[in-house]
């Protein structure tokens, strides 16, 4: 039963991903992307990572896509009908196809690694996923956490300066 559900979700994800790259109007592709993000969120839940799903929805679907849609609206971009030259499209599809083939080959060729980590599936369920992540985040990964804050600061300052009309 679960696999059937999984198949439906993946079908939806793939169709919306394709929609993202094919539809002419950027708004439609934005919406399709949001749809993909939701599918991903469900995956995360299926992988016993509910907190991640929540964060995914909030950050990606909520913040980033909203920003994107806002920019599209701000710049009221006319739908340009011109498509890339055909030969470029053909090459890129071939290239995309080859990346797919490569990754699939890696997936199937690689031997299954041993589960080494301390947190088994049911542990997450009974202790609570968020608590575990919090503990992990603020003990081993404290330094990267601080660095990401600096990264965000830099991004904010950069975005403000770049987007201002007269510097």
């Amino acid at each position: 039963m679960e696999t059937l559900f999984f198949l439906i979700i993946s079908l939806v994800a793939i169709v919306s991903a394709i929609l993202v790259i094919t539809c002419k109007n950027p708004i439609n592709s934005a919406l399709a992307l949001i749809m993909t993000f939701f599918c991903l969120a469900t995956y995360y839940v299926m992988l016993d990572a509910p907190f991640m799903a929540a964060v995914q929805v909030m950050v990606y679907a909520g913040a980033i896509m909203v920003l994107m849609v806002f920019t599209i609206m701000l710049l009221n971009i006319r739908v340009n009908a011109t498509r890339q030259q055909s030969h470029k499209v053909l090459f890129s599809i071939i290239l995309g196809f080859f990346t797919l083939i490569n990754t699939l080959v890696i997936i199937f060729k690689s031997r299954a690694a041993l589960p080494t980590g301390p947190y088994s599936g049911d542990m997450i369920k009974n202790i609570g996923h968020t608590e575990l992540i919090g503990k992990e985040m603020f003990t081993n990964f404290l330094l990267p956490f601080e660095i990401t804050s600096i990264l965000l600061l830099a991004a904010i300052v950069g975005a403000v300066i770049l987007a201002k009309k007269k510097i």
């Binding site: 890339q84 470029k88 090459f91 890129s92 290239l95 080859f98 990346t99 490569n102 080959v105 890696i106 060729k109």
Partner: protein, 668 residues
């Protein structure tokens, strides 16, 4: 015993240093002259003492080596600065210092008023120093130092009037031709050193050791190569057939220089070298034939050119080349003693002739200068009748001319006749002897002809000088005349110390002092001859007298023809020239040898090097280097086009890169 020998070369060297460094400040000509002449006179005194000490020794142990310091020692090769005193070197130092001193004395007056007076005497002393090195050196390397040193000094002295382009060219020509000869000398030295070392483990270049180990040398083969190379060196230095054209051009230098360097001393270096290494030359019959033939050819060839020259010094230059041919002829037939004897007598009368011609030119120059005419002071055609104007010069000149012509009783006769007889009777060349003797005799006749032509044209007949200058012609000052007289005396008396055997017995058993004196030097070659030589030499007294008579007869014929042409009826030479214009022009232009050398060697060399530079160096090599640079630029031009500026291209190439790498790692 001979410890003061080092004084001989050092005195002229000190004279050179003083005049060279401080000459400009001294400025007083007599002081510079006395320093230079005094230095050579000092060497003359010491050489006399050395000769006297040498004669006091018994004839067997007349060999002494005095070592000063070791010059170059590296590996198996060592050469040290050491002097060898033996009969041969004693004669040479006597000639060099004696004639040298007289010429120094003569030049004090001759070079009076010259702008570079100190420079002239500095170079002359340097020349005497290097000549002493050449003559006294006990090993081949030291001899080579003297050898090149005299070449250098002749370059400096020929180019003395350096503002004249012809003098500069003549100097350069002399040096380069000597250098070609030195190339041969070097090769001979290397081959000898290498062969003796590698096969017999005798690593030496000193003459005494070479002589002692000369029995190890084979006959012919490698010795022929060695001796031919040395002979090439000798032809370069002593102006024989292939490399003689520099000597006539060397007359650009002042006359005393021609007298000292190009008559008495330097040009005899080649003869001395062969005499010094007689044990080598005797061992290769092929080389001896080559030397004899070239000697005879040079004698005849130069004599023919001498007959048609008008410049008084050119005539004497060609006569020197011819007389040197005689000396090499003597060496070629194995008569080393006769060759050295002729060298000595030639030094006397040729120096006297040159100095005499110098006196004539000097007074002609003065006279023409007074008359402000620009005629050439050396051209015999505007001379004549100087007999009355310059009696002493005429007398000495005549004596020397008789000596060179080979009239009996004078030194020339004894030495030249001895050579002719040895050429005829030597055991080495069999049937070739007659040809050699014939060429020698004809050359003797021609010598007599052109020498007396010179005397008649300058001293006899009416004076052809421009009328205004006629009364300015006067006898040269005392300092010029004394050396003339001394040299004329020597050229008369000089012959009597080496009277040939056959005449000696007739005149009451006077032995040939000169031959006996030189015997110890040629000891090893005599031994070799007694063991290996073919014993076919002719010892017929009557034949010797007969040949002697014929050669004297030819000389007298030469004189009478000259008298007939240039004194009694002077019209004949003009008619003769008109009759054979081509022959005359050819002879007058030295058979176009110089033009031939230019055409065959000098110009192709120049054009080839021009091609090498412009063609090969600039186009090929530089072209390749710059070509590499340009191709790199072109290549970078191509790669530059890859940056199209389009984002999609860059993204695509990045993705392509990832795919390729990924697939590589998967497939590996």
């Amino acid at each position: 015993m001979f410890d003061n020998v080092w004084l001989i070369p050092i005195l002229p060297f000190i004279g050179f240093l003083i005049n060279g460094l401080f000459g400009k400040k001294i400025k007083n000509e007599t002081v510079i002259g006395t320093i230079a002449a005094g230095a050579v006179f000092g060497s003359f005194i010491v050489s006399c003492m050395t000769l006297y000490k040498l004669l006091s020794l018994g004839s067997e142990e007349r060999l002494a080596e005095v070592k000063f310091f070791s010059w170059i020692t590296s590996g198996t090769f060592n050469a040290d600065v050491a002097f060898l005193i033996d009969p041969l070197s004693c004669i040479m130092i006597m000639i060099v210092s004696g004639v040298g001193f007289l010429i120094h004395l003569y030049s004090i007056a001759y070079m009076h008023g010259e702008e570079g007076f100190y420079r002239y005497f500095a170079y002359l002393n340097l020349f005497t120093f290097s000549m002493f090195l050449l003559v006294l050196g006990n090993n081949l390397l030291l001899m080579f130092v003297g050898w090149e040193g005299v070449g250098l000094c002749s370059y400096l002295l020929i180019g003395y009037y350096f503002h004249k382009k012809s003098a500069g060219d003549a100097g350069k020509k002399a040096f380069v031709m000597n250098r070609v000869g030195d190339f041969g000398f070097l090769l001979g030295l290397f081959t000898l050193f290498w062969y003796m070392g590698s096969t017999h483990n005798v690593w030496t270049i000193t003459f005494s050791e070479m002589a002692k180990t000369s029995h190890l040398l084979p006959t012919g083969g490698v010795v022929t190569v060695i001796t031919l190379c040395f002979f090439l060196g000798a032809t370069g230095k002593s102006a024989q057939i292939p490399l003689y054209t520099w000597l006539p051009d060397a007359m650009e230098g002042p006359t005393p220089v021609s007298a000292l360097i190009h008559a008495a001393t330097m040009v005899t270096a080649g003869v001395y070298m062969i005499a010094r290494m007689n044990y080598l030359f005797i061992r290769s019959p092929e080389t001896l034939t080559v030397i004899a033939v070239i000697g005879a050819c040079t004698a005849l060839f130069a004599a023919t050119i001498g007959t048609a020259q008008n410049d008084i010094k050119r005539v004497l230059a060609y006569s020197t080349v011819s007389q040197l041919g005689y000396m090499f002829l003597a060496m070629g037939v194995g008569a080393f003693g006769a060759g050295v004897f002729h060298l000595m007598t030639h030094a006397f009368f040729k120096a006297c002739l040159f100095l005499g011609s110098g006196a004539v030119i000097h007074s002609m120059h003065g006279a023409l200068h007074h008359a402000h005419s620009h005629d050439d002071a050396q051209d015999m055609r505007n001379m004549g009748g100087l007999k009355s104007k310059m009696p002493i010069t005429f007398a000495t000149f005549l004596l020397a001319t008789i000596a060179i012509a080979g009239i009996p009783g004078f030194s020339g006769f004894f030495s030249k006749d001895e050579i002719l007889w040895q050429a005829f009777s030597n055991p080495h060349h069999g049937s070739l002897n007659i040809l050699l003797w014939g060429m020698g005799a004809i050359a003797a006749g021609l010598t007599a002809f052109y020498m007396f032509r010179l005397v008649f044209m300058t001293f006899f007949g009416e004076c052809r000088i421009t009328p205004k200058a006629k009364d300015h012609l006067h006898e040269s000052p005392l300092v010029i005349v004394i050396p003339l007289i001394v040299l004329a005396g020597l050229s008369v008396v000089g012959g009597y110390i080496g009277i040939p055997k056959v005449i000696g017995e007739v005149l009451g058993g006077i032995p040939n002092y000169f031959e006996h004196y030189l015997d110890p030097v040629f000891k090893y070659s005599e031994e070799y001859m007694s063991v290996h030589g073919a014993h076919g030499g002719i010892h017929n007294i009557a034949l010797e007298w007969g040949l002697m008579g014929t050669s004297v007869l030819i000389a007298i014929i030469g004189i009478t023809v000259a008298y007939a042409l240039y004194v009694s009826n002077t019209g004949i030479p003009v008619k003769f020239v008109a009759a054979f214009p081509a022959l005359h022009r050819a002879v007058y232009n030295k058979w176009y040898i110089d033009e031939l050398y230019d055409f065959m060697i000098v110009n192709p060399c120049k054009s080839f090097s021009q091609f090498l530079w412009k063609g090969f160096d600039v186009i090929v090599i530089d072209g390749a280097v710059n070509g590499v640079a340009k191709s790199v630029m072109a290549l970078s031009g191509v790669f530059r086009l890859m940056q199209t500026g389009l984002l999609s291209n860059y993204a695509w190439s990045m993705a392509f890169g990832v795919v390729v790498m990924l697939s590589y790692f998967i497939l590996k």
